[in-house]
């Protein structure tokens, strides 16, 4: 008898425990979601959903989230941030936002085809959509009222041109995420800017130590490589270490910033970073959605609003250093 009761208690305790530790939180959250639909828009109590393809724990998307939440606080609107790297899951999250009848949806479109249905469903439900980061070409076609991002090919070209100026000819482009088309576009853009084909190297963002070894081997096996372009700030740091391991003089350049990259630019081991200022990709869409909700304004006139590329190098790195450590650059 006692054992039976204990077993039942255990089986029942599981979800109850989960609910117990979160009820206080959910009370306010439910209110935010439930009250905000439709009529609430008039008196300024707006609620927006941000759904990105960033994986949990990715520092880049953390900055986007910070931007969106800061905009929500500054403008007095509620912002709910969700993300999932799997395109099907991401489209289900967009669908969930539609179901909640939010006043606006911000969605990153790394894989536009996969998101077409859910974005169009949001538009059909009368919810204004802003696309961010990638997917500029499809944004208007799917019915979004604007796009905020960095054109990956243009940013890649910028990096390629800068490397060419610095005298690089044999460039290694390090791809850290299999399946992310935006990264391939950056490398293609870099080829165009450089004027010659860059060489691609595949590493895994989840295992930076192995990435470092891979880059070291590549630099050892081909000493004519005179520049390494990484597409993620974490990979940039290990690329700099790999170059010194391999005794290579290759110039290191990267996309995106973090604290380590900034100090590496300060001490010269990384020459420059292409900053897409993703904080704006979180902040601006919230502003745009609020303007649209209150004044039917759109921004960009059908063209994407570009947040980059901004080049961070030894000339401006010191000013940015503090902002990056606060997590907004």
């Amino acid at each position: 008898m006692a054992r039976r009761t204990r077993l039942l208690a255990l089986a029942l305790a599981a979800p109850l425990l989960l609910s117990a530790c979160s009820t206080d939180d959910s009370g306010s959250g439910d209110g935010g979601g439930g009250d905000s639909g439709g009529s609430a828009a008039a008196d300024g109590d707006l609620s927006f959903a941000v759904v990105t393809h960033g994986s949990a724990g990715d520092a880049f998307w953390d900055v986007v989230q910070k931007g969106a939440e800061a905009a929500g606080e500054d403008l007095g609107v509620s912002v709910d941030y969700q993300s999932d790297g799997d395109p099907q899951r991401q489209s289900q999250l967009v669908q969930a936002a539609v179901n909640q009848d939010v006043d606006g949806i911000v969605v990153s479109m790394a894989n536009p085809d996969a998101l077409q249905d859910s974005v169009e469903a949001a538009v059909a439900a009368g919810i204004p959509v802003i696309t961010i980061n990638s997917g500029a070409e499809q944004s208007a076609q799917f019915g979004a009222i604007g796009h905020v991002g960095q054109d990956e090919a243009i940013a890649g070209q910028g990096a390629g041109q800068r490397l060419a100026q610095d005298g690089a000819t044999n460039v290694l482009c390090v791809v850290h995420e299999a399946g992310n088309i935006g990264l391939e576009q950056r490398c293609d853009g870099a080829s165009q800017g450089l004027g010659s084909e860059v060489r691609l190297l595949q590493v895994d963002i989840n295992d930076l130590q192995a990435a470092q070894s891979t880059i070291t081997s590549q630099l050892q096996s081909d000493p004519t490589i005179d520049a390494v372009l990484t597409l993620n700030s974490g990979v940039a740091s290990v690329a700099a270490a790999a170059a010194s391991d391999a005794g290579s003089e290759a110039e290191i350049a990267t996309f995106d910033l973090n604290g380590d990259v900034i100090s590496a630019i300060q001490d010269g081991s990384i020459s420059f970073a292409v900053d897409q200022q993703q904080y704006e990709q979180g902040y601006l869409p919230i502003v745009m959605l609020k303007l649209y909700a209150q004044n039917l304004n759109t921004v960009g006139g059908g063209q994407p609003v570009l947040t980059g590329p901004g080049i961070v190098d030894s000339t401006n790195v010191d000013e940015i250093a503090d902002l990056a450590s606060a997590g907004t650059r």
Binding site: R3, R4, L7, L10, A11, L12, A13, A14, P15, L16, L17, L18, S19, S22, D25, S26, G29, D30, G32, G33, G34, A56, D80, Q82, S83, D86, P87, Q88, R89, S91, Q92, L93, Q95, A96, A97, V98, N99, Q100, D101, N111, D113, A114, Q116, D117, E177, A178, G179, N180, I181, E184, Q202
Partner: protein, 353 residues
Amino acid sequence: MSATREAPVERPVRADERLAAVGIWRRLLVKPELGSLIGAVVILAFFSAQSDVFRGLSGIANWLDVASTLGIMAVAVALLMIGGHFDLSAGVLTGTTALTVGIVATELDQNIWVAIGAALVLALAIGFANGWLVTRTGLPSFIITLGTFLMLQGLNLGLTKLFTGTVVVRGIAEAPGYHSAELLLASTINVFGQPFRVAIVWWLLATAVASWVLLRTRFGNWVFATGGDEVASRNVGVPARRTTITLFMTTAAAAWLVGSITAVRLTSVQANTGTGQELIYIVAAVIGGCLLTGGFGSAIGAALGALVFGMTQQGIVYLDWDADWFYFFLGAMLLLAVLTNRLVRRYAEAARR
């Protein structure tokens, strides 16, 4: 079978003292799916009470959609686990089949049904290879399928780039025959005016078929026997090898179904599709009452495990909770499920004595 045994039931007055009386509670508790059923009901009640969107038709369609493709895999993985094995390549295989559908349809310019057929042949071959290697070498399926998993992951990326020059296969919607495939695999069905994804029907169908096979067919008995004790089962004439290979091929076929649904629905497939999902399938099967040691579990339980997963994942969104904590909740549920299962197994063994 039941007809021949009706006679003893007619005289229940004198109970046989050699048979222990098994109370209704104990009989319920030895059902593998009980834990996940209680979990599902409690989670449903909890989220429904907190969010009117969650309990609304559009919300239900949304979390059933999440549960459906996961559920198809969880049911097949549950059969394999009852048979005493794991398949770590199951997640990445959904990507392999989806990419095959995409590449054959767009790069080789074939009808989409030809592409789907080719993906099925490939999936069954991979499933057979997994099963054959496991039965021939006697190595743990964990190791064999880990090898397959890594090889497929590399092939997915390498071949996709070789064929398309990039990491995404696109344009599946333009393939001939797409509309019939879409109707069958990626359409929606209106219920009370709310569109539900057709994948949900496939999920229910997979659960029903798997339950029937497991509980009503000779093959189902073989699965339990092989998973319970392979040597003993072989001694009494169970074709354990054939059973194991069939189970691996079943998992592969499920991966093919999910991969095809993904490819047709998204019309573009990323080279990293499905990677990491294999553990989620196992989690759903374990929440559903499958024992890691084999020989015990149920298909309905695994389907309920997938339902728990889908409801939790979307419920957190509907309550505007921080989704960063989702995996913590999932892990806690897994631990509780395993602990519950352990107690249930003790009961099951006690009831048998």
